[in-house]
């Protein structure tokens, strides 16, 4: 990069503030969440009662079933169910 003055450099550093920490953590947890996802989806497909509990309150149903409702897992499930 050329033609940089320090004022412009400062503006460019300011242009990328950190993303909210919780968002970053959720995205970082994706590999673990992905592993749980298929198991939960398979169970929801086979068990109508579990499926309706998930639809009513996703986080509570996950917790009751022994899954930690991490932001990544909740997000992936919402996307998966929305696409069905």
């Amino acid at each position: 990069m050329t033609g940089l003055d320090e004022e412009r450099l400062a503006r460019l550093i300011s242009a990328l503030p950190p993303a909210p920490e919780a968002w970053v953590l959720a995205a970082q947890e994706l590999p673990q969440a992905r592993a749980e996802l298929d198991e939960i989806v398979a169970r929801a497909e086979a068990d109508a009662e579990f499926r309706s509990r998930l639809a009513a309150d996703l986080e509570a149903a996950l917790a009751a079933d022994g899954h930690e409702p991490t932001p990544a897992l909740v997000h992936l499930l919402r996307v998966r169910f929305k696409s069905k």
Binding site: M1, T2, L4, D5, E6, L9, A10, L12, I13, S14, A15, L16, P17, P18, A19, P20, W23, V24, A26, A27, Q28, L30, P31, Q32, R34, P71, A72, H75, L76, V79
Partner: protein
Amino acid sequence: MASTLSDSELVARCREGDQQAWADLVERFSRYVYAISVQAFRLSEADAEDVFQEVFARAYEHLDALRDDAAVRPWLAQLTRRLCIDRLRSAARERPTGEEQLDLAGSDETLTMLEEALTVHEALAESPEHCREILDRFFARDESYRTIGEALALPAGTIASRISRCLARLRELLEGRTETDPPSSSG
């Protein structure tokens, strides 16, 4: 500590199932993805959060489809832009006034500036830790001299001069870079 692996090395490790590499990749590009949705496309925080998670979820799912590992940066940028546009189109359908926002969204100028900003952050990540920390806190995190002084155990009176020295050093580092230099870490 941010990863010092190149983008392509990081992608290769993610593909091998290295979870730490994935966490580093998210860390490296999180600010860029966030800034595209909030600054270039002016999405609300709620929409930006959905786009942010969707970008990384799709990236994780489709990493194998990336033809050139070194191209992860433009790939993520394109994915983010596409999802932002989808989000705005969907809002415009629900609420006709959204069209105006759609026309203005994602100006090329802002996107170019953000790309440049990412390059600067990559160089910042290669800077000595005391410079990286103080410049990031002051400019990107918008912390006051007082907060920085307390966090880094520095007298407030020395902060301005350190910022100035570190900016000069960063400038030298960037001017010494060539187009072929591999991208390094950011975050």
